[in-house]
Symmetry: C2
Subunit: 179 residues, 2 copies
């Protein structure tokens, strides 16, 4: 019956919740299954660079651009894909801006718990670093950013580490034994 | 002559600039020579705790106290004294507060350059750390704080790492070869 079909559809949705496009900002409305996320990114977001390796540099260019800006790239290691996001927000009055950097696994939350990511800014004699469990793209990064559960720093900090308006963030992914 | 005495006094002041009390906040007006700073602190600021060792925990209690608050302690290692400062400021509107943590050497700038300090907040699976050259008390910490040239984090970050309203900051001092 129609009723049974509707119920079956709901049950399927609960077992296989649709994933949204993990790109920050709400401009892309794509939704689909986890196994289709990478295909979507490669087809609809061709401009996103992917680097291979556990230890890479995420180079955000022109960090002094005015307004809210997102920088995005992909890192591939341990047979998995991670999306690195740097977001700049006009957070406060007085022209103060905040940067938020966070990593999300293209995968489920239980898989994300097998990894730790480390973000590091450094120059001559200063170093700022943040380590945490990656988010799953099922959770997304918006909540992590709004709760500062990520690397967060202000414009002054960014200037300490930037060169010619570009900011290099060292990203290291580690595989950890499940706790 | 009186004139010569006056000129000699000015010359002495330029060779041995007076140091101000390194306690944060402007309440103590003490000034004197570098060799008298520790004596002043021990006599006039008896409540400041000193811990011995290169690797200690700076425990800031009641970080949820309203308003601007400073937490101060001393760390003694490598035959030197370091003052650890955690400052909370009502930085922005909307009730947002920022924390700033920084280390200053009871010593001159050229001596401070022989050290690196590392501040680390950590819990189960998150870690935030900052490494830099200590300030000299001749420079003070106010400028480092206003320029975010220190460990800075917001109230959300503090809550991630606090336990029962207390925040433990791991402080490690390293002696480095002069560059
Ligand atoms: Zn998309
Ligand atoms: Zn670290
Ligand atoms: Zn004093
Ligand atoms: Zn570090």
């Amino acid at each position: 019956s129609i009723r049974n079909l509707a119920m079956e559809k709901i049950a399927n949705n609960m077992v296989f919740p649709p994933y949204s496009c993990p790109c920050p900002g709400a401009s892309c409305k794509w939704q689909g299954s986890l196994s289709d996320v990478m295909g979507h990114l490669m087809k609809a977001h061709k401009s996103i660079t992917t680097l291979q390796g556990e230890d890479i540099v995420f180079l955000a260019t022109d960090i002094n651009l005015p307004g809210a800006v997102d920088w995005v790239m992909m890192q591939s290691c341990f047979g998995a894909y991670f999306m690195l996001v740097l977001e700049k927000q006009d957070k406060f009055d007085h022209g103060q801006q905040m940067f938020y950097a966070v990593v999300q696994l293209i995968g489920a939350k239980k898989d994300a718990e097998n990894f730790i990511y480390r973000l590091e800014l450094s120059n001559n004699r200063r170093r700022l670093c943040w380590e945490a469990t990656p988010r799953s793209i099922h959770e997304g990064v918006a909540q992590a950013i709004s709760q500062s559960d990520c690397l967060s720093f202000d414009t002054n900090h960014a200037q300490l580490f930037a060169e010619n308006g570009n900011l290099g963030i060292n990203v290291t992914i580690q595989h950890v034994n499940q706790m």
